[in-house]
Symmetry: C2
Subunit: 395 residues, 2 copies
């Protein structure tokens, strides 16, 4: 049998599993059911666009994890997970999107067969991939077990990055720099948004001889709203031509082997309005103030408060968070959904945590984003990309 | 205020709402909470990559639907939904990915304020976007209501396409043809997968002067595994060069304004093995047999059984379904998750239902896909794309 393709050494997977088990024991769990594809990949190497059907990794306190998913995807698990075939379990296709039976019923019987259908079983209650119906089916199918909320238990273990992970994120940082350069080189009045997105994907994906890698797909597609559309942070694109007198922010990420480096910049076609010039100044100064706080021992809110204080000085109110942790991700989110850079989050920053410092502004009828992805260092942050921190004006 | 950009006329949205209400009444619902972004878009026009936080559309039996989501995304709702601002409700950012409060708690209080926190309330229990935690928060927050499983209630209303929807799907069919042509024109031994994906995105996205549209993002990224990797249906890509003596299937979709036309073809670099030649023959003949059954009045299983019967004649067993309905979609799935083309599904085919006839084979150490996306017609199916139904051999 072909050995699976793994992006990390076995020692790294072993260490991830150990960290997860410590957290499981702290929560009093006997077993953990991991539905989030990012967590599944981090723990086992599993890769593939199969998360549109129910699947999970089951982590016992001893012994290897078990991959559970659709039978046809078990072949993908054999090719991407480090576990032996006896720990790859497929369920029959009749369970797929059926109203008569649920994959979690099948999982419950498999757990019972292995003597694992008892005790405290952790599940990711608030996760896209653990639906209310999946929870109900497990509750019915596991009468001798108690389901315990273990949302983000594995996500938290992912917060501090290994050197091997950081190496991928730095490559992703190089790629996102290349993507922004392509935008600056090609954007202009009359260019259709869809054509610009084609340029962005091209720069994101092509093999880079210098880096020795090609690009992977992002967990969020490019966001590039213009003018008043940029007042909304999550519009994607259409096929209309770009107009003079409008600002456009580009929220995009370079991705290498599922590891992300998001980065946003703003382009103005024509002479920027005073609002844009003011926003640039405030965000640049606020960014500096926040980065100054982004060091080991400070907290998440320290970074946010420093940034918000500068904005307030400029009379700008940002009523949403200023960032979130990043790393390995599958759609729909390149954030890790643990910490937030916002008032009230007193999580202490540790070395090699990584964040997207999301300093974006979405105002009444315009938007502006100049952001950085950073690694928390002992003496301050490392910016993972190297793109001039300024608005690009094309007159 | 700027009027929102809508892809369909108000009459079409009104008709969608009416159909949904008939289904709600049949299920005895007083209110429906719609979490699936495809259903939200279909009902209201809402568009944006914001489904990584909790959001929904609330459908009462009378009066306009209510959009509910993160405050910053409410600006996106104002720009894409047809409802008045008073029916666009944002929740504060502190509810985002918090362990202290849940957006569904906030929704419950909003429903109570509007006198809608009682009776039978439908929720999409088995949906990526309605987590177990969301369900629990609603149950707690709505003590005077009963939550009723309404999974796929709206999805079913989407099954029969309007002429306006079919027009978009036919454009998407043209685009997927352009994408396959690009693959055939550029693929070869030594080409890196990531570079080929860049070509695919380019062909998917660029504005087409003849069609008068540019491309949108697909709900599933390109799948293009080679050799033994093609035994797994859902691997994506890496940055390694393509090799001689391997087959690669390309499962991709053209997308226009969120409407999809998926289509798969297979390329063999070098002289195809007998297994590939046999698979091509069996799939072509099986496809014809299935298409013959794809007409109004027949059932989903009729199509699948006709296809499987031909495969069996050739000694090939396919132990997974042979297709699913398609149309409007957001990640992670371009299927509609209602019917399946498989034995046991006796749903009767109606005019203008649309399916991806998924005739793919994933065998022990190879894979093969030649598929069609079809519209069910009175006298037989219409293929939405026009790509020669044969394996492409590049020697």
């Amino acid at each position: 049998m072909t050995r699976p393709t793994l992006n990390f050494g076995q020692a790294e997977y072993d260490s991830r599993l150990s960290k997860t088990r410590v957290a499981m024991q702290a929560l009093g769990l006997d077993l953990l059911i991991v539905s989030d594809p990012s967590n599944m990949h981090w723990l086992t190497g599993y890769d593939g666009w199969s998360f549109y059907v129910h699947q999970c990794v089951v982590v016992p306190l001893d012994g290897p994890p078990i991959w559970f998913g659709r039978s046809q995807d078990a072949r993908g698990a054999l090719r991407t997970c480090y576990m032996q075939p006896s720990n790859i379990l497929g369920y029959p296709d009749e369970y797929v999107q059926s109203t008569r039976c649920h994959p979690m019923e099948y999982l419950a019987t498999q757990l019972a067969d292995r003597g694992k259908a008892r005790g405290q079983i952790g599940v990711e209650m608030d996760n896209y991939w653990f639906s209310a119906a999946a929870c109900a089916a497990l509750e019915t199918g596991l009468p001798n077990a108690t389901l315990v909320d273990a949302t983000a238990l594995v996500n938290w273990q992912r917060a501090v990055k290994s050197e091997a992970e950081l190496a991928l994120m730095r490559q992703a940082g190089q790629i996102v720099g290349r993507m922004h350069q392509r935008i600056f080189d090609t954007v202009g009045v009359g260019m259709r948004k869809c054509d610009l997105v084609a340029e962005i994907y091209d720069a994101a994906l092509r093999y880079d001889d210098e880096l020795g890698v090609g690009g992977d797909y992002p967990a969020i597609v490019p966001l590039l709203p213009s003018g008043a559309d940029a007042s909304a942070p999550h519009l994607t694109w259409d096929d209309r031509p770009m107009k003079a007198g409008e600002g456009t922010f580009f929220e995009i990420a370079g991705v290498v082997k599922r590891y992300h480096c998001p980065l946003s910049r703003t382009v103005f076609l024509g002479r920027p309005t005073q609002a844009f010039l003011d926003a640039e100044k405030a965000v640049q100064e606020g960014m500096e103030a926040g980065l100054e706080k982004a060091r080991v021992g400070n907290s998440c809110e320290d970074v946010a408060l420093a940034f918000f204080a500068v904005l307030e000085k400029y009379g700008i109110t940002k009523d949403n968070r200023a960032g979130y942790p990043i790393g390995l991700s599958y759609p729909p989110d390149w954030g890790e959904r643990t910490m937030s850079l916002r008032p009230g989050d007193t999580t202490v920053l540790r070395e090699n945590m990584t964040f997207h410092f999301m300093t974006g502004l979405w105002m009444e009828d315009w938007g502006f984003e100049i952001t950085e992805s950073i690694r928390i260092g002992l003496d301050g942050p490392e910016c993972l990309a190297d793109v001039p921190r300024e608005m690009v004006v094309i007159e």
